[in-house]
């Protein structure tokens, strides 16, 4: 009997993972210097040492909390300001140069500026916000702009209450844009957030731990932290997108 399609896809995914783990192992054996390039086994061993420690969990909670807070603030603000800017074109024009600037300035410049102005404790939150806000803002504007004109006229003629119009006509038009923007912003908020932490070294953060791994030349631990970030960011992304899809239905 032929295995089902989903089973075959699963098997293929497993084989691809094993292949790249094999490549990783082979490269580490070729380099043969665990200080420079840890093997998968070294990484798992480092992770096993880390997981039972309090440092591990407080770093995870610290980073996750700050990035999630920055992301959520940016999501709410981006939506609100986006809606306001859609309604009032003057605001849109006024904000345009500022947001273009925020989008083009290198993340590293922001990190250093925020560090100088606000210190390291709020660094991750602010950096994650700065990365996510423009994306949500522009997605909101394009989404609202794509709203079906005929349905807007219908709502006007039938005198449908504003909230119902917002929920039934504007929200469905905006949602694909919003989820698209969130999908890319989620990954970016983690990358930028962790980069900020490595530079700013706030207490209880993954970035701080990565920085320490670098100081001690502990590549296995650095890999273990990286793996942790990948896992966290994937789970966070899936959770937020799942939530958005639920609300968008």
């Amino acid at each position: 009997m032929k295995p089902a399609k989903s089973q075959r896809r699963y098997l293929r995914g497993l084989l691809v993972t094993l292949f790249w783990l094999g490549v990783w192992q082979a490269v580490s054996m070729l380099v043969a210097k665990p200080v420079l390039f840890a093997s998968p086994l070294d990484t798992v061993r480092a992770l096993r040492t880390l997981v039972p420690t309090g440092v591990f969990w407080s770093a995870i909670l610290g980073s996750l909390g700050r990035i999630a807070l920055g992301f959520s603030l940016a999501l709410v603000l981006g939506l609100l300001v986006g809606v306001a800017a859609f309604r009032f074109s003057l605001l849109r024009t006024l904000l345009s140069p500022l947001l273009t600037m925020v989008k083009t300035v290198p993340v590293a410049s922001f990190i250093i500026l925020v560090l100088v102005w606000f210190g390291s404790s709020s660094l991750t939150v602010i950096v994650a916000m700065l990365i996510v806000f423009p994306q949500i803002y522009f997605a909101t504007l394009s989404g609202l702009g794509s709203t079906n004109r005929e349905l807007q006229e219908l709502a006007k003629v039938f005198r449908i209450p504003a909230l119902r119009v917002a929920w039934q006509i504007y929200r469905p038009a905006m949602w694909p844009y919003l989820t698209g923007a969130c999908a890319s912003a989620l990954g970016m908020s983690w990358k930028a957030g962790i980069a900020a932490e490595v530079i700013g070294n706030p207490a209880n953060s993954i970035g701080e731990q990565m920085y320490l791994s670098k100081i001690y030349m502990d590549t296995a631990e650095l890999f273990a932290w990286t793996l942790t970030v990948i896992l966290l960011s994937t789970v966070f992304e899936k959770a937020v997108l799942w939530l958005l899809r639920r609300v968008g239905k």
Partner: protein, 188 residues
């Protein structure tokens, strides 16, 4: 309240659509509008609905309209019942809305997303929605497009039964199919 249009003038570029045009729709009247296409049937309806500001003229204010547009304008992904509830009522009115619709559509289609219904069925949903909504006057722009003759009969009966004394103005180019109906025919 009667609806009065006085001294209406409107043009699209060079093309004059209305010039010093007057029209009175008496409260509760049943009006048919017929004219060759391009003569301003849709324009007149859009002016009444407040979607188009005429170059000149006055139109009675404070009338609540509901309408069937030239296109169906249904909420995508929502069922026929949801289309009705969008313009009036809430969850508690689901059954009433379904009963209302069942006069015009098969029972098993009422909770399907409208995208899965045929063109003629979608048209009937739009018609039912206009009649279900709270309004003083119902405007219908070519409501019978895409309906076969048997369905058209059923739809006309439905419209006449459900307008409940409201003023009704519909435009059509199929006047000959409605000769036995008590419409007062207007010309532009």
């Amino acid at each position: 309240m009667d609806i009065q249009i006085k001294d209406l003038s409107h043009r699209f570029g060079e093309k004059v659509i209305f010039e010093h045009y007057d029209l009175t729709l008496q409260e509760g009247g049943l009006y048919g509008l017929t004219a060759p296409s391009g003569r301003g049937k849709t324009t007149l309806l859009r002016i009444l609905m407040g979607l188009l500001t005429p170059d000149a003229g006055t139109i009675s204010q404070g009338i609540r309209y509901s309408a069937v547009f030239q296109t169906d304008r249904l909420l995508p992904g929502c069922s026929a019942v949801d289309q009705l509830l969008f313009v009036r009522g809430g969850k508690k009115d689901r059954e009433a809305a379904a009963r209302f619709l069942s006069g015009l559509l098969p029972e098993n289609s009422l909770y399907q997303p409208v995208g899965e219904l045929s063109g003629g069925m979608q048209r009937r949903v739009a018609i039912a929605r206009a009649l279900w909504a709270e309004s003083d006057c119902v405007l219908m722009d070519e409501p019978f497009t895409g309906l076969d003759e048997a369905t058209l009969r059923q739809t006309v009966d439905f419209i006449l039964a459900k307008r409940q004394g409201r003023t009704l103005l519909l435009s059509t180019h199929q006047k000959e199919l409605l000769t036995d109906c008590p419409f007062e025919w207007l010309r532009i």
